[in-house]
Assembly symmetry: C2
Homo-oligomer: 191 residues x 2
């Protein structure tokens, strides 16, 4: 357990509200009420709502990176196996924490993206992707092509499924999984 400061308790409360009641229910006052303090208490630990959101998102990116790392490391330890594992973790996180995932990737201005904890956690998640892509040659002349390709692919699929625009069919005759798509890519190992 992290420190039991009011700051961290407010972040925990926010994550719980997000998980239980969704994004619309996540308010400063609701977090304060759940922790049992007055509605203006959070302002002494965060710079308003944007600051609290940044704290919640930072924690979210840590859990996100944990999920990806876990699934990557428990997969078959080949380049493509690790990549599929990582992306399965990406998809799993977006499925298991839909509201948090939306919040994390929907920073439409009202969240403080300069928060140091946010940057650290966000960078860690990105580095996982970067590492897992290093065995591969760029798929086009641009040096970052492969990781951009993989990232855009998995992020787009997660987002579109999560918003109901691509429905995951049980019969699996129609809709491909992220693993199907990744294995269809022309990825080539270095030398």
């Amino acid at each position: 357990m992290t420190q039991d400061t009011l700051r961290s308790r407010l972040i925990m409360a926010g994550l719980e509200i997000l998980q239980e009641k969704g994004l619309a229910a996540l308010t400063l006052r609701a977090c304060a009420a759940r922790v049992g303090v007055s509605h203006a208490a959070p302002a002494h630990h965060f710079s308003g709502l944007p600051g609290l959101l940044a704290g919640i998102i930072a924690k979210g990116f840590t859990q996100f990176a944990d999920t990806m790392e876990e699934d990557r490391n428990s997969a078959e330890q080949t380049p493509i196996g690790r990549l599929c594992g990582l992306c399965n973790g990406y998809m799993r996180f977006s499925r298991e924490h839909p509201a948090l995932f939306t919040l994390m990737f929907n920073t439409s201005g009202e969240v403080d993206t300069d928060d140091p904890a946010f940057c650290r956690a966000s960078d860690r998640a990105y580095n996982l992707l970067h590492e897992t892509c290093t065995p591969y040659l760029p798929v086009s002349p641009q040096s970052a092509a492969t990781e951009v390709l993989v990232w855009a692919l998995v992020h787009g699929l997660a987002t579109l499924q999560h918003s109901g625009r691509i429905v995951v069919t049980e019969s699996e005759g129609e809709t491909p999984t992220i693993e199907d798509l990744l294995r269809s890519l022309p990825l080539k190992l270095h030398t």
Copy 2:
């Protein structure tokens, strides 16, 4: 010009606010004020905020489909040329209408997704993608694989660029464009 009813004028006002001041400024009362009616007038034409948003989004999808169709039809008329044109339109729309794009693909519950106009416009946009992908074989056993691959790719890239997570470098030595990525895919024509 569409009909000058209050309904359509409110939708237009919403689109303008979205473009000028962003998503956070889009409120029922702001739309009503811009049109010059009282704050409760919109309730007689939409079922509350979710209904107004559905109307705005429906108009947004129409413009979105127009943009894609335009860029697709003015591109080189080969299967890959048309596909690149379509996706360039996708990217262009997300760049030119960031707030509207966020609203359209971020229906986190507070928008009425049963609105018939919304469904019609949304279906039209999807059908453009579907059509443009039909010349190609599925990239994996799943019949919808190619269009899901393309859609996830372009949508992910648009979303990640739009939220600043992938920055478009001018030097173009690092970051690939959607066209680079599409042309790197192993797409095969039918027979």
